[in-house]
Subunit: 495 residues, 2 copies
């Protein structure tokens, strides 16, 4: 270590020494935690008093450049050293072959999900657009004030309990409330029949892990929720799509599939299906449960939009018919409240909930309690009901508007069914129109929607697209549908 | 449908009809959504006026027993029907063979994690005990008031943004803050080098999925964090434990392993290791990074307790030496703030963060923004630093007490090393003492700790246990250590 001091300079000696050591540290001449020369030695070599060196070291310590350990000496603080890798992502990739480390499971998953399709409508990229595909809630109608109150109330009420560790199953009082809440849907449950998950996605992921090995068969509605497809892909399931009509999944075609193939799991959204908006008819619901017992497969019932009925009809969940315990029911607050809350729940027999809990535990231990308690308060105080009432009114109004607009602006070749609830409408197109082509054209005019490819379990045989209208205001609905309709007409006339 | 009315009773006719239909619904004589007889028909068959029947139906609808659809008729509301399965868990398991559906992956996982060991010390079962194994924070020293303020501030500041959908990577402003915060640890990162996860557990789970196929080899310190073991078991990894001493993992033994076996991933807690409390020495840190490049494996550095230094020394993370990008750094708020927050972060090269994001997306889409924004405010306002300062003071005091108590009450056959930070101390025992036997005895006296088996990657060769003292007050530490010490002495003298 070469420290240059100049006794003729007007700067005090201890300042000069301090500056010199600072310079050496900054230039990377020290290792982190490297010991500085003992003050006695340095004093000797510089021919100055030991106290001067001690003064310098004290200053350096006060400035955070070094630290001292009693009886051991003074050491360089790693904080003060410039690191080798200064540019955050300037790694020398030639030194390390990451490619060789990726798992086969990942490679398969990557090949199936990295389509880039989501970029076409990614909300982030198109904030000023009229987007019939935004995952965000309707900002103007959010119950922010009441939710903040519930956050404050619940922390006041439960205090440290919310900050502590919790059983994987979820906040007990919340599960207790939900088990009563589910009675309204005809489902009997104890708190121990309920597992709180970080969104429906996590519920699907752990049920998938419980039941599916690579190659096992899962059945879905053809056209289904992309998140479910992504989960079943990631566990390398074999999946089959069942076509449907306005009454939901075609049960006869399902039985044909069941006869020729051992199916372990069926994933369905019977109410306000995503993306079709259809409701599985009462008779088909009963038939589906019977088939699941006859052919021995489990059912996941994704009831994400139960609350969003705007025709006053409450559909009865499939789970309400479950006498043998093979139906996993999933509810969620993502559409009924807001997606950012990341709270859903699974209802299943207790022995199954125990197994799912141990799988969830290996994924994220448990879901934070603070938001569970806040939602509980939000429901108990009646804020949730109030919010739903208002939201359903808005939804009904928007549905009316989109219906008018579709009738007025869309060509007769485009077909759609009326819906009774939920955030989605589905438009079927003639097979000579590609919905992706349409999207690329409407995007130029500032209008977005979700093309069929995103939802396709199997080839649909024709084209179509989904319109999410729950979070688009009436004016934008009107303008957006006009734009899509005009482009569609011009495409149909060969334009 | 048999409706009995009595024209001689003093009850109005429409009330009688209403009561009869209510009775029939309650007795399960109707299917959900079943149509009631048209008012005209029922009136005719009962020989009364149609208006009377309409009055009854109107009453039933107001009470929620039926609903009417204009032009179609009146239908039974499924809510009002008693369901087949009334007892929440009274499923007829004979009707459905769930056993045949469980995945092989699940069976393997179940066999490895369902040891029942955790029940021995499960905090829920032993709330009044002196427990040196509680996952909960120190309730008396929680910054609840400030955290509540941060929740309120952040909702005021970001409003709807927090309720909306977000990129899987996490709340941008939070990642931005963390990337600056990490500079203090000598790690250079952009927000895009950071992925927010729901706890370290989720981070481990997705890194595991990215790199490990069944049978791939993972190396851990022998004695390691049980949550990591659980993740690697769940993806059916082959794992090897490396023994360590008070300077951490033995690098020479590690290299011997690397020479004979292709290793894909090494998981380490270099600072305040769980369960040993040891700190990997500076030379070993450098050697470990060199080995990872030489033998081509990735490293997960779990830096869960970085902030909990109580000797004024800040260890330099391994990640700060990373020039080839093969080190996944993980930080967490579980020990430094509280476990219920469920927030951790991964730092890695951008191309790796993208891959991990798409895996996280398939697990839970993204972590809620509300708590990310609250922690951001908590840090920005200086609450976090204030909390840490106080917490480290308490920790230092408790460490002093536990050290005194151990010296005073523990037999000389029990050995432990001094520690510089973190919540854990490790006690080595002679091989003729089984820590599980010891636990069963101290449990009878109301004292709990975590026995070696929970942390064992491979057979340890002797016995030992972990004491978590960060959340036990001085009085309880003193009494608890006395009780364990006395029982230990009596066991050693053959008692």
């Amino acid at each position: 270590m070469i420290i240059k001091i100049d006794k003729n300079r007007p700067l005090p000696m201890y300042i000069q020494i301090r500056d010199e050591i600072k310079r050496l540290i900054k230039e990377g001449k020290f290792n982190p935690h490297e010991k500085l020369p003992p003050s006695r030695d340095l004093a000797k070599s510089l021919n100055i008093s030991r106290n001067t060196v001690i003064q310098s070291y004290t200053l350096l310590e006060a400035e955070g450049f070094v630290y001292s350990v009693t009886g051991k000496g003074t050491f360089v603080n790693p904080r003060s050293i410039k690191k080798v890798c200064k540019n955050p992502d300037n790694y020398d990739v030639k030194r390390f072959n990451f490619e060789s480390l990726f798992s086969i499971a990942w490679r398969r998953f990557e090949a199936s999900v990295m389509s880039g399709l989501d970029k076409l409508t990614s909300y982030d990229n198109f904030k000023d657009y009229i987007t019939f595909d935004s995952p965000n809630p309707d900002i103007e109608n959010l119950p922010i004030e009441n939710f903040r109150n519930s956050l404050i109330n619940s922390i006041k009420k439960y205090e440290a309990q919310l900050f502590s560790s919790e059983k994987t199953e979820g906040f007990y009082q919340f599960r207790e409330y939900l088990s009563k809440y589910m009675l309204k849907r005809g489902i009997y449950s104890d708190p121990d029949n309920i597992l709180i998950t970080s969104g429906i996605q996590q519920g699907l992921s752990i049920i998938g892990r419980l039941l599916i090995d690579p190659g096992d068969t899962v059945v879905l509605e053809n056209l289904s929720y992309p998140g479910a497809l992504s989960v079943f892909r990631s566990i390398q399931a074999h999946y089959i799509g069942v076509p449907g009509d306005k009454e939901g999944m075609d049960i006869n075609i399902l039985e044909k599939i069941l006869k020729r193939k051992k199916v372990k799991l069926l994933y369905t959204i019977p109410t306000y299906q995503n993306p079709r908006g259809s409701v599985l008819s009462f008779d088909r619901r009963k038939a589906l449960v019977e088939l699941s017992e006859k052919y021995g497969f489990a059912i996941i019932e994704d009831d994400y939009a139960y609350e969003l009925s705007f025709k006053g009809i409450e559909e009865i969940p499939i789970k309400a018919f479950d006498v043998s315990g093979n139906i996993f029911y999933m509810g969620s607050f993502s559409e009924s409240l807001f997606p950012g809350i990341r709270l859903s729940w699974i209802i299943a027999p207790k022995h199954i909930i125990k197994k799912l809990s141990s799988l969830k535990k290996s994924e994220d231990i448990y879901t934070n309690l603070i938001l569970q308690a806040a939602v509980l308060d939000f429901m108990e105080k009646g804020y949730f009901n109030k919010h739903l009432k208002q939201f359903k009114k808005i939804l009904a109004k928007r549905y009316e508007v989109i219906n008018y607009a579709l009738t007025r602006y869309f060509p007769t070749e485009a077909k759609w069914n009326s819906i009774k609830g939920g955030p989605y409408m589905w438009i079927d197109l003639p097979s000579d129109i590609d919905s992706l082509d349409l999207l690329l054209k409407t995007r130029e005019k500032g209008v977005l929607f979700a093309p069929d490819r995103i939802f396709a379990v199997e080839d649909l045989g024709h084209s179509g697209f989904r319109l999410k209208f729950s979070n688009v205001n009436e004016d934008k609905i009107w303008r957006g549908i006009e734009i899509i309709g005009n482009i569609l007409k011009s495409m149909l006339s060969g334009g």
